[in-house]
């Protein structure tokens, strides 16, 4: 245990040293913000605003300073300011990121470009429409389905036992905050509107891998579609931009492995063992 803690501390020190070496300290930056009001059919243009910054200033801080002191009309969606709500996803210097989680000191150059997330219908300035994204998420039936659990009869309700190893199989995917960064980075979503996208497919794997869920076949049928699971070609962009370490590409490939029969389906094996016992 002590060894593990020491190892983690050493890793932390190494990372913090690397981070400090990469840091770019400046007193001000220029924000280049894409402005457009689609409802008014306004053509898109960029506004540039000079913003004073400190070492800890995030892109969201800089945008809010610009909104507070220079131009109140900047359209931006944000909420928690601590990478928990996933509201402030936007393209920062061309890459989808959370504005509250990206420090200005991490970015090179004196100009920081902020644009709305690609692959989402644009509403105004940095705000995009997530309805299609959430629709794909809903289509994956993101809830536990278990025919053995009769939720209408409290007397029949019982606890579902899970080992920590079972939890580890899906926990990572349940950390998704639905910020849409993976959806904006995916090259397949960029070409195919019906493709559910990395977020939805990773959520499908999250419930597929959950030992409490028994709707395996039903879930397979949902993603086994012309625009479904097999449209992913493992560009890995979703995992490289995910701010929470969900690694959607991993979930999608594992799900496909199960579908193709490459990976052993532990739930199916357990089910067969149960049948043999009976």
């Amino acid at each position: 245990m002590t060894d593990t803690i020491e190892k983690l501390e050493r890793l932390d020190k190494k990372r913090s040293k690397e981070h400090k070496e990469k840091e770019i300290l400046r007193s001000s930056i220029t924000l280049k913000i894409l402005r457009a009001n689609r409802a008014a059919n306004e053509p898109a243009h960029y506004d540039t605003i000079e913003v004073p910054v400190q070492r800890s200033t995030t892109v969201l801080d800089a945008l809010l300073w610009a909104k507070g002191y220079k131009d109140h009309s900047i359209g931006i969606r944000y909420s928690c300011r601590m990478a928990s709500c996933g509201s402030c996803g936007m393209k920062i210097n061309g890459i989808p990121r959370l504005a509250c989680y990206t420090k200005v000191s991490e970015l090179s150059g004196d100009t920081i470009t902020c644009e709305p997330l690609s692959n989402f219908p644009h509403i105004r300035d940095l705000v995009t429409d997530f309805s299609q994204f959430f629709e794909h998420h809903k289509n994956m039936q993101p809830y536990i389905q278990n025919e053995n659990a009769d939720i209408k009869d409290p007397a029949k309700l019982s606890e579902f036992m899970q080992s920590p190893e079972d939890v580890d199989k899906f926990l990572q995917f349940s950390y998704c905050i639905k910020c849409g960064c993976c959806y904006a980075a995916c090259p397949t979503v960029a070409m195919d509107t019906k493709f559910p996208g990395p977020q939805a497919l990773a959520q499908m794997y999250r419930y597929f891998a959950d030992t409490r869920d028994t709707a395996v076949e039903k879930r397979m049928e949902i993603v086994d579609d012309r625009h479904g699971l097999f449209r992913c070609h493992f560009a890995g962009s979703c995992s490289s931009v995910c701010p929470k370490g969900v690694d959607p590409a991993l979930g999608i490939q594992l799900l496909r492995g199960h579908m193709l029969g490459y990976s052993s389906n532990e739930k199916k094996i357990a089910e067969l063992k149960e049948r043999l016992k009976k």
Partner: protein, 163 residues
């Protein structure tokens, strides 16, 4: 694409324009133009696509080339002469490179897309490095690139080396 309009019906029955949404905010093919934004795997995806399209073009050309046989030996010889030029050799070199990369990278993808060589899901920790984008994938991409370069060099030595 034209913007789509969302209306809301008020209690009085009148329709009020709530918002006009431009649905055309997808990156499309434009997203392919800068593959270096997302790391080695995205570059490999881009190269796999590009080499695939290139090989399809070669395949069509190859079918056209061999079909000249039906017009007699002279037509076939004339067609072969076209490939014996420096430009013809350069195209063949490209084909060698493309086919080697596409095959080697394709083998990596067969395993990867079946969930092999990606690592196991675990509890993510800061700075949240993705398990799936691991050294095995990067090594696979580099091996495919090195094999393609080696095959092209060997091909160049045969095609341009002369006797």
């Amino acid at each position: 694409m034209a913007p789509s309009y969302i209306y809301k019906v008020c209690t009085g029955g009148e329709e009020v324009l709530m918002e006009a949404i431009d649905r055309n905010n997808r990156e499309g093919i434009k997203g392919w133009l800068n593959p270096s934004r997302y790391g080695a795997e995205r570059i490999s995806y881009w190269l796999q696509r590009l080499t695939g399209v290139g090989l399809l073009g070669y395949f069509i050309g190859h079918v056209y080339e061999t079909s000249s046989l039906t017009n007699g030996p002279d037509a076939w010889a004339a067609m072969l002469e076209l490939t014996q030029t420096p430009m013809g050799h350069m195209i063949l070199l490209l084909v060698i490179g493309m086919s080697t990369f596409h095959s080697a990278n394709g083998i990596r993808l067969i395993f990867t897309q079946g969930g092999k060589g990606l690592g196991k899901p675990g509890r993510p920790d800061y700075p949240y490095d993705a398990v799936s984008l691991n050294y095995r994938q990067k090594s696979g991409i580099w091996i495919a690139l090195i094999l393609a370069a080696a095959a092209m060099m060997y091909g160049a030595s045969v095609l341009f080396g002369g006797e």
